[in-house]
Symmetry: C2
Subunit: 344 residues, 2 copies
Amino acid sequence: MDRSVKVALFGVGAVSSMIAKALLQKKGVEIVSAIDMADDKVGRDLGDVLGLSYKLGLKMVKDVREAFLGVKPDIVIHATSSSLEHVYPQISACLREGVNVISTCEELAYPYHKNRAIAEELDKIAKQYGVSVLATGINPGFLMDTLPITMTGPCLEVKRIKVTRMMNSGKRRIPYQKKIGMGLTEEEFKEKIDRKEITGHVGLDVSIAMIADSLRWRLDDIVMLPPKPVIASRTIQTNYTTIEKGSVAGLKSAAYGVKGGEKVIELEFISHTEVEEEYDLTEIEGLPNLKVKIEGGIHGDIGTTAMIINSIPKVMNAPPGLHTMKDMPIPSATTAEINRYIKS
Amino acid sequence: MDRSVKVALFGVGAVSSMIAKALLQKKGVEIVSAIDMADDKVGRDLGDVLGLSYKLGLKMVKDVREAFLGVKPDIVIHATSSSLEHVYPQISACLREGVNVISTCEELAYPYHKNRAIAEELDKIAKQYGVSVLATGINPGFLMDTLPITMTGPCLEVKRIKVTRMMNSGKRRIPYQKKIGMGLTEEEFKEKIDRKEITGHVGLDVSIAMIADSLRWRLDDIVMLPPKPVIASRTIQTNYTTIEKGSVAGLKSAAYGVKGGEKVIELEFISHTEVEEEYDLTEIEGLPNLKVKIEGGIHGDIGTTAMIINSIPKVMNAPPGLHTMKDMPIPSATTAEINRYIKS
């Protein structure tokens, strides 16, 4: 493509602000409009909303039609909600305007498990309007689905897959520390679990469904365990708060897929202040057995930002329809001007 | 697909014999013919040639036309040579019969570097006859190209990529040990290098070109270093031979890609009897830095066999043309009947 890729932002929260700032550093791509429903954002300059020291000359708007009036974007970067039902009208509105979509919506990363009807409808609309839609991120999107699926490529047999993400939460951004309940008493943590204010890692079921369908495994069940608090063995100060000994230092989130009475896919997410070694580990029991370790792990915010941006050309090059990572070309970085990766 | 996939073998040597035996264990796939030019194979039953204790009722033939006379295969598994020029007439003959091809040919894994004209011709023929062709294996095909490219997916910047394959050659099959010169004197090793009887790891340049093109890096040069012997510090007995102290225990093969005067892609293959820890390691210098280690490494023969077999549905599902791993859907295992992975 011999001109810059035109990107619209749909939802400008914590994650999409990071994506927007990273896009501003990239060449061959420009942000042409920004949408958010929040009253405290609409009408303001995007630069202000991102906390930049300069204006971007882009007034934030509330509505897709309004956003696309002046300049039709090539692609929307959508980041509003984890819920497929919630994002469905937003994304279908973009598709109906003939614009491609990349979303951070966890449930959309593999929607056939949660709501096949919505998935099929989105696929139909995308095909009708000749555009593509994909949801991705570091997870769902990479660590617990794309990478373990890829690692089964050199396997003649696969009996069991386990993925473990081990992360020291004390090093992460404050909203994240808050989200996983750090510093709460065990009682407070459990109340927040009951009120679904703490959800643990969203999308483990989505990744399990993607792996299973990729391997053509018919699972009897996908079980999501409620997040368990990890209790601090000593008092520690993070950039967010003081974690008193005996209070919540973080959590463990786990889910598994069952086939023939056996746990054949196990995903475990462990994030607390006392994690000493950070890593992402994929273990495959099969022929051969494989143990693949990302030493130090992948930083979630950077990883998600990169997966979204690097997917821009892949989505624009894809045939029309709803895509998932399991059927997309292998991931890769966009280190040059982004438009150079797009077939004209 | 509601019937078995029909496979023809083209070339029945060491690697394709392993593939054939693995295929015989798989469901939803059948071998319908076998081609080899060697006089000591033509006319014999494939079961005999594979060293099985039973006949397969398949007489080996010398020629594509003859092989496809009775039953037209869906796909040919081709394993005859590392050389693109050598395999070109063989593969184009299959394509012209309207049959898909998966090849182990290292140079075909990314042919644009070595001989763009042949690559474009194969692409044209494949499209003309509505079929697909792909070359893959554990390497080129996975460890030093597909996997490192995939690992750049969560990276915002990539400055440098290094991949190291560390393998204890004493544990591998005898032809492999012989091929890398184990047990020779240093003098004999050097003579065999000069006569190109020892080539080191074939295809490092192919993997470098695939990585560079995937990232849109314009390399100034790809440098293949001549294989260096590793000298045994002690006498050791392998299943192949006795390696005397002071003789060749194995080799180091390396290659690198240069951009702006810097080595931006480095591939290193180290295989000798004194390797204590086996692994495959991808290191990315970028944002973030990544270190991905396959502990114990992936067994080359099993990995290649699996990559070839698992690519059958991917190639059959692909649009017509010449494909390379960098643009194929992510790898994945075929654990169920192979025909179930093929879109009808």
